[in-house]
Amino acid sequence: MSSVATIVLDASNYALILLLIALGLAIIFGLMNVINLAHGEFLMLGAYTVLSIQMAGGPFWLGLIAAPLAVGLFGLVIEEVVIRRVYHRVLDTILATWGLSLLLKQSIVLVFGPGSHSIEDPISASVMIFGAPYPAYRLFIMAISLLVVTATFLFFFKTRIGLAARGVIANRNMAACLGINTRNLDRMTFSLGAALAGLAGAVIAPLISLDPHLGLGYLVPAFLAILVGGLGSIMAPVVGAAGVGVTENLAATFLSPVYAQLIVFITAVLVIRLAPGGLLGKKRRQT
């Protein structure tokens, strides 16, 4: 058996990646009641932004900064063109964003081709932890994820815009009646959620093979994470991502990847069914 430290590191690493991805999804769902099935493709766009910069000869770190900006901007456009028109129709947001995901995948195929691409490791060193080497880049990812999650929390819990946003989650109509510009907040939220996905995509790009279908493999566990965690709360994805990420990783460590996936899915379905609000969630207002 691997040392406990390595197992813990691996599991936290995966859980933190999931958290980074689930966070944007949860913000968009929580604030806007939009189920964004194109989130995986936003992730992919982030990764491909890094790829474009690498192809143009730019450094990875530039890509890391450019990806959230580019995808955030893209999210702003999508909000204006598509999402805005399907608010209040939760089921239709599923369909519209799913159509969007088809569209984005195919666009990437047309631009970058269907094949796999690779991002070079920005940090190839290893760090010794409890006597075992651990890739420094994985530690960097964990740091980034913690940093972003903390920043997001500070934003939501320590700023007045964050307060307003939480007000919108709690009671959208009342917040609007108090003069909170929900339209701008929607734009900002969707863009922020997209930017977070873009950042996540850029961060994980060196770990994986880039291909137009990479989104689904992350979207599904991230989705389960926010559903398990619960919806009406910013804290929920943390619990959900930790739950799903650690469960999947441990099951893969001690059983096999096949069982890991099944266990996560079945547990998630049970949790969603038995506690529809999620582990941390509250009953949402129906507005």
């Binding site: 007045r160 307060l163 007000g167 108090l178 003069g179 909170i180 339209r183």
Partner: protein, 234 residues
Amino acid sequence: MDKPVLELDGISAGYGTGLVLQDLSLTVDRGEVLGIMGRNGVGKSTLLKTLMGLLKVRSGRLTFSGHDLTNAPSYRVAAAGVGYVPQGREVFPDFTIRQNLIMGNLKARNDDIDAAMDLFPVLRERARATGGSLSGGQQQQLAIARALIGRPALLVLDEPSEGIQPSIVREIGTTLKQVSAEKGMTIMLVEQNMDMITQCCDRVVFLEGGRIATSVPAAQLLESPALLNKYMAF
């Protein structure tokens, strides 16, 4: 006298395909405290919700302080200077009192918050408590303070006395009266509580069948029980 602060001209609105308000017209003068009365289901709350942009105006025109707010989104109505205290208060249960007040005006400074708390001292005493932990009456006071912190030109309240002990109802009435007098604020008060109406209002309109049936000075109300019987009794 100025132009009316609020003008509703031939408004029709409702839920789904049914119309609750039908061709309703109403003007409210600046500084006026207007009571709105009527039986359950005649459209009092619908009127306020339509004003706030929560319901779609099917026909007609809504003008406030010279701005056309027909079908404007709620936040624009609020930004134009309408403060709203909804039925059921709708304070944010997880937010502290202070946070609830800030929701009323994101740009509120400390002295604005202090001023709001001055109106209802109980809010200061429990400033760190969450909205959900307050009693109904305290929540009502919080909701009013929250609406006032945005310095609205028009304050609309939907049954503020509902489910609240009489002493607090009176306190609220006094405060409203005081605010209206001191700041020249216009108030629209949907209410069933006669004490509250007579305590605060200058004028009362009765709704029936989705439109204004009659309009009388509040003082006249006490002298004409026939009116109440006609529009209020079941």
